[in-house]
Assembly symmetry: C2
Homo-oligomer: 538 residues x 2
């Protein structure tokens, strides 16, 4: 059973009664671990319209790109075997054409699944020589429509390139193919006493190449830093087929411009990442997770500042969730919330990771004891074993799926200075209410609610506008309002999800003209024909 | 007094007797904190020859660069005040023309010291329009001749741009001018409860802009990671005078290519960094330093692997030093070594930083107790207070100066897989002995010795070849031997010092043709006239 906080401070009167415990939550965890096929079934919306139709006024197929002909297929068949090619088979193509939010849908007729870097090179060179547009695709778990085609772009899936190339147990450096699934890499590292320096809800489906291409942030960036720091080397196939082999495995290397950095976060617009070399930290020997209820957003911030001071080097995650996000998750999981003493405006998940369980327990309990004594925490629980840790995490990690269960979700993933962060959720809800299109309970309006959660430690808010259907009317209320709001606080319109198709036209809210111009120059430098992931990014 | 390790394990018989203590070392520390003027006086060599003369067979002045004329001076005088210009004054120019190792000497007649980004912009635009070559210069503490001119390039010193622009005590994000001295920034942050995520011996002189331009690594990279991860934004003046204002202060921001990364480690060849935005961690509340003596290099590695396992999240530095490096340092400091029980082949400095002194003490003492019980450590001491911590660090941080005290030093700063790392020092000493040019004691030969020390935690060796004079004969023994040796182990010929002038022609030992070609394209893209820091880098 969970440990209640009152056990820490028996004298404290502020605690609610402890009514029952959810030891059964842990066993449910496997079910909610998101994979693309599982997620889709939660969506009740009608079939997804083509993105090209939905956004017909904003985007049209560029005639400079050639349409696929028989001779192209013949060439591709000479490079990779038949079973690595999907052509004109609507059913098989669907998985690659549609995103998991069921928001974007492309019309590609051709998926290529190369097994080697050399094959990727031959394919890209041919496409470049023949003006065939391509979309590189990893696990297709992106949230901004970056990995699905808009029109008939050829999808190059990395999923058949899925081998661990090498691992050095002294330095902790892993080299692997781009198509290795994140959870598989982490599992491999677990056996070696190491941990992948990135973790996110989609870990069961997303691929490491895609993670790097999107500069994924995730749940433990607070502890392990960004991929710009931990990726040591990359192998990239450039649009003209040249292989940029820079798979270094040195923690320090100051010999020239660090060009691999350009590809980290380039979302498949400069080339296709085929290999990754990454520095992995030792796996922590002790983990703790506490789940807290607090009375307002100001208190969330106070608890964060205190936790960073007191937990310091063992703090590995600090996540916050608002009440509605937890109500939706409870409905989605079909479970009672682990904090049963009532509903609270905000919840916090704190994770610690360290090398000495006794020390970590003492630090966490001292911190929580102080937080309660100071009246910061209304109620809370501490996981007592690994399965409870997983259960508590599921109340955070299941929110993205819970957000879509009524039909769909408009996702905004933003960086905003901490003090203003939750104000965006409040203002969006006000705006939706004014437009009279929101209704949390009875389903008579198109919008369920705007909810907020995310990585306080990184100043990163996930604003999810949960809807019963996608519609231009909703979109008009949200945009550009959300982007203008963020811009007014000098925030970023994409903290970790990237630009993709969704935010292509909004980069100006976060970057100035000079920055955008320099980006366009880089794009043009590496991909002068513009075949890489067109209609997106910048 | 220092705490001896035997206090931890009274039963252990392996410890040497504790003979006297050096409580006076601490008070000497301020003296050895390197600043350029202090360092120079240790060098006893005759006056430094012009680099252009020493390397006359390898480099000649490119006639495409215009020589300075009166009208140029008139223009510069219209942009910055007279007192910010040094012209034709041999004495005043010397500080900027000569490097602190007294190895490189340029012939610039003009130093400009702008105070604002706008002034830097006007100066660069003029130089670009008029084909005037420039060298950006920070604290001039570089080790590869990157910050001194080779011929008559104009020196643009950032030292007058030295203001902290802002600091946010909630997020820990510092924004400052490029010319802020590292130690001053760290002192400022200390008062706010934060720490600069970079520390190096030259902190009293080096500037943050220069640190970023060289992607400095330093003593605590093990803990705080590389600048590619911690720098959040930059302001850079491009060669054509355009100001790339990308001074963001968001921990996560995925809106487009991360172009600032190109300038981190570009050594002034793409533009001049004028402002830096950087994420700073909370200052640890507890620090420990232990200094250990071990019997061979294999044991150094074993102690490292164990320390990473047992000290994990509190390990903030793991430095090793060979015996000769400590003998030279003792002579340089005029002090007895803190480990007095005899001389040992290798020494290790371990630093821990954490939030709870009791926990850290317990972890460190348990680790050291085990290490002694397993026979890994011959002798050792633990600092008992801040001044002892500083004293022990001085035995590591003074090595660079001690290396030069006989006249000069050939410095190689390399990354090599751990198991092979010290082999380079041994092989170089063998090679020097074979050439019959080395002699540690009596001064009859040009070379004192090759010594090795560095950041084991990062696989980073500093190979210093201490000499009584610089000579082509010595250089011929060392190069390309050293570079070939590194290349054969897939190492890097520059872990953290950069390429500069010294390694311009050797990048091929660490990067392949494709990588070098892509770097040259980037250089050409941003600096088509080649005015930025010519004759260097690639």
């Amino acid at each position: 059973m969970y440990k209640r906080l009152r056990a820490l401070r028996q004298a404290s009167n502020s605690l609610k009664a402890n009514i029952g415990l959810h030891t059964n939550v842990a066993t449910q965890f496997a079910r909610v671990n998101p994979t693309v096929s599982q997620i889709s079934k939660y969506s009740t919306a009608k079939s997804v319209p083509y993105t090209a139709d939905t956004y017909a006024s904003k985007v049209s197929r560029d005639p400079k790109y050639k349409q696929i002909e028989n001779k192209d297929l013949e060439y591709f068949s000479s490079v990779i075997p038949e079973q690595s090619i999907i052509f004109n088979n609507e059913n098989d193509l669907l998985f690659y054409n549609e995103d998991w939010m069921r928001k974007y849908k492309g019309q590609s007729k051709l998926v290529l699944k190369p097994k080697t870097t050399e094959q990727v090179s031959q394919i890209l060179k041919y496409c470049n020589d023949n003006n065939l547009a391509v979309v590189p695709q990893g696990g297709n778990t992106g949230l901004v429509g970056g990995s699905i085609p808009i029109f008939d772009e050829i999808i190059i899936s990395l999923s058949s390139m899925n081998s661990i190339r090498s691992f050095d147990p002294v330095s902790g450096i892993l080299k692997c193919d781009a198509g290795v699934i994140l959870e598989n890499a982490d599992q491999y590292l677990r056996d070696e006493g190491y941990i992948f320096p990135l973790d996110l809800g989609a870990k069961g489906s997303c691929q490491i190449g895609g993670n790097v291409a999107c500069n994924a942030g995730g749940l433990r960036l607070l502890r392990y830093g960004s991929l710009h720091g931990s990726v040591l080397g990359l192998e990239v196939v450039l649009p003209d087929g040249q292989i940029y082999n820079s798979m270094h495995s040195l923690r320090k290397d100051n010999t020239g411009y660090d060009l691999k950095q350009l590809f980290i976060g380039s979302e498949g617009t400069l080339g296709i990442i085929t290999g990754v070399s990454i520095l992995c930290p030792s796996r922590p020997q002790a983990s703790n997770v506490a789940f807290l209820a607090v009375k307002d957003y100001e208190t969330v911030q106070k608890v964060f500042v205190e936790s960073r001071k007191e937990l310091s080097e063992i703090l590995s995650a600090f996540e916050f969730m608002d009440l509605k996000s937890q109500q939706l998750t409870a409905k989605h999981l079909g479970l009672e919330h682990p904090i049963e003493s009532g509903e609270y405006p905000f919840y916090i998940l704190i994770e610690t990771s360290g090398s000495n369980k006794d020390h970590d327990d003492e630090k966490l309990e001292t911190f929580l004891g102080n937080a309660m004594e100071n009246g910061l925490v209304e109620d809370g629980i501490i996981a007592q074993d690994e399965s409870q840790i997983q259960s508590l995490w599921s109340w955070r990690e299941s929110i993205p799926e819970a957000s879509t269960m009524n039909g769909g979700v408009y996702k905004y993933d933003v960086s905003i200075p901490l003090k203003d962060l939750y104000g965006l959720v409040e203002d969006v809800n006000t705006k939706l209410a004014e437009a009279n299109i929101v209704d949390f309970e009875d389903g008579s309006k198109p919008v369920v609610s705007a909810i907020g959660y995310g990585h306080i430690g990184d100043g990163n808010l996930h604003l999810n506008v949960c809807v019963r259907e996608y519609s231009p009317e909703i979109e008009k209320v949200l945009e550009p309002f959300v982007y203008e709001w963020i811009s007014s606080k000098n925030g970023s319109i994409s903290a970790e999800h990237g630009l993709g198709f969704q935010k292509k036209n909004y980069i100006g809210y976060s970057k100035n003209d000079q920055e955008i111009q320099m980006m366009k120059q880089i794009k043009n430098h590496y991909d002068p024909n513009g075949i890489m992931n067109p209609y997106k990014y910048i």
